[in-house]
């Protein structure tokens, strides 16, 4: 459509003199919004009390709609939703994140980031609006369809578009660049959680559903406007562009490829699947701590850690998660991706094993330090993986390859909580005291990280048979002139 031609890739090629430091804020604007997903749990309790407060009758025009026969027919949810039921909304959103990133990654690389970011904004905000209608009429399938499916698609598109763009703008420091964007995903939850609570206070009593409906609509509108800043600010580098002083092909790390690998070929390499497993175990292990942080701290230190203190502890972990994204991925530019992941997978098991030990030693400080470090590595794993992919597969289709790799996140998002829940139930059945129930979980997670370490050690440069025939030097655009390939260490 001509009216949407401003979204086309050729309209966003940076003109000479464009400052590349404008691109990270564009990326952050998207990630700060979609990072809201991590704060969805603030809606858990209000969403379980919608029917109980039904006497707060609709007061706006939607009331008229509710009087129609069609809506009455669909308005058949006599009981409140349970917390596990609501948990499916977030899980479905994460599954759709991975699936949409995998499905639309190649499209994104073709049409450019502006169009993909615009589509992300429409889907993510649209998910809130559809979800609001679902909450209003207490239709769980509509909430799933809105926030879970539509919002999840927005998450996937919004997650990979800025990352692949930044990798192309910062070939000299890809870890730092992707860390900046993905740090925004962690930071987005920090903004969304208190903002949502304040909005629910504002809308409480004004609208049906403890203010959730009004909050969803408001968040959808705010996020759409904010994401438009990213949409209109983002640019792609012109063919031939290179940052000042950067000479491609001089990296000493032999894992940094000088060749591009297409998404269809990357899929067939062992390196892709090794990284897939590494992301899977890192996320699964992180979820084990993140999802249990509050009850675990109270169970390991009864009488010393109250529910209020545990809430503060979860806040501290959010900060660690965000900080780790930037710190670890920036560090990876200096020590290499393989060494960074090896740090996660060797230090990590020791920290997981130390958690039960901290409970037995009654050392709250040790427990806090372990969890904080684990969360930095959880975030760091997300932020470092795009740069690892770029090292192995080049920049040409890194967005599409990253998208496919994110299916590991989706898998962990479903399997991780299920595994933790199963381990907990198994131990309860066998009469294991509450405070000791975390031991086995942490030992299993430590074991998973050792598997990750083995995978990381197995990562070798991609076989030449997978390289694109017209492969340019890493960090350069497909059509630019490049210096001849040089071999390195």
């Amino acid at each position: 459509m001509a009216i949407l031609s401003f979204l086309d890739r050729d309209r966003i090629i940076a003109k000479p003199g464009f400052n590349r430091w404008l691109v990270p804020p564009a990326a952050l604007a998207i990630h700060l919004c979609i990072g809201q997903a991590y704060a969805f749990s603030v809606f858990n309790n209000p969403l379980t009390k919608l029917v109980a407060v039904k006497e707060l009758a609709p007061t706006d025009t939607l009331k008229l709609l509710s009087q129609s026969k069609l809506v009455d027919a669909l308005h058949a949810a006599p009981t409140d939703w349970s917390i596990p039921t609501i948990g499916w909304v977030f899980s479905l959103a994460i599954v759709c994140l991975g699936l949409s990133a995998a499905t639309f990654g190649a499209w994104l690389d073709r049409v450019g980031p502006r169009k993909a970011m615009f589509a992300s904004a429409v889907c993510f905000s649209g998910g809130f609006f559809v979800g609001a209608v679902g909450v209003y009429y207490h239709l769980f399938w509509l909430l799933l369809l809105g926030y879970g499916v539509l919002g999840g698609i927005g998450l996937g598109l919004g997650y990979i578009s800025p990352v692949s763009t930044l990798i192309k703008w910062f070939p000299d420091k890809p870890g730092m660049a992707t860390g900046l964007a993905i740090m925004g995903f962690g930071g987005g939850a920090m903004i969304a959680a208190p903002l949502s609570v304040k909005l629910m206070d504002v809308f409480h009593g004004m609208h049906h559903g403890l203010g959730v409906t009004g909050t969803f609509v408001t968040l959808g509108a705010i996020y759409f406007v904010y994401m438009m800043f990213g949409v209109f600010t983002v640019r792609v580098p012109a063919p031939g562009w290179l940052p000042a002083g950067f000479v491609p092909g001089t990296q000493q790390n032999k894992l940094v490829s000088s060749y591009n690998v297409s998404v269809d070929n990357a899929w067939k390499t062992p390196q892709f699947w090794l990284l897939w497993i590494m992301l899977l175990v890192n996320v699964t292990a992180g979820i084990a701590v993140l999802s249990q942080a509050s009850p675990m701290s109270q169970d390991l230190f009864p009488g010393r850690v109250t529910a209020v203190i545990a809430g503060g502890f979860v806040g501290l972990l959010s900060i660690a998660n965000m900080a780790g994204r930037f710190a670890w991925s920036s560090t990876s530019d200096h020590i290499g991706r393989k060494a960074t992941y090896l740090a996660f997978f060797t230090l990590g098991p020791l920290l997981y094993i130390a958690i039960p030990a901290s409970g037995r030693a009654e050392s709250v400080a040790l427990f806090v330090v372990c969890c904080v470090l684990i969360l930095t590595m959880y975030g760091g794993g997300f932020a470092t993986i795009p740069a690892y992919l770029r090292d192995l597969f080049g920049t040409r289709q890194v967005g599409a390859i990253h998208g496919r790799l994110l299916t590991a996140w989706s898998t962990a998002g479903v399997l991780g909580p299920a595994l933790i829940s199963y381990i907990g139930q198994y131990q309860t059945r066998h009469g294991v005291p509450k405070a000791q129930q975390y031991d086995l979980t942490m030992y299993i997670m430590a074991g998973l990280l050792v598997v990750g370490a083995i995978c990381d050690l197995m990562v070798k440069p991609v076989d030449a048979k997978f390289h694109d025939a017209d492969s340019p030097v890493t960090g350069m655009m497909p059509t630019q002139t490049a210096t001849p390939e040089r071999s390195r260490g």
Partner: protein, 53 residues
């Protein structure tokens, strides 16, 4: 090959100048994203501070 290298140097030189261009716009863009992030960070820090009371 020498032409290619000279061409690259020209591109690098122009991008060096670009790094210093539009500084006001860059500052504005960063402010736009960092202010809400700082607000969220502060809110979370206040929540986390309960641990140390």
């Amino acid at each position: 090959m020498a032409d290619d290298v000279r061409s690259q140097r020209r591109v690098s030189s122009s991008s060096s100048a670009a790094e210093n261009s539009s500084k006001g716009l860059v500052m504005l863009a960063w402010t736009f994203v960092l202010v809400p992030l700082a607000w969220g960070f502060t809110q979370t820090l206040i929540k986390a501070a309960v641990m140390f009371r």
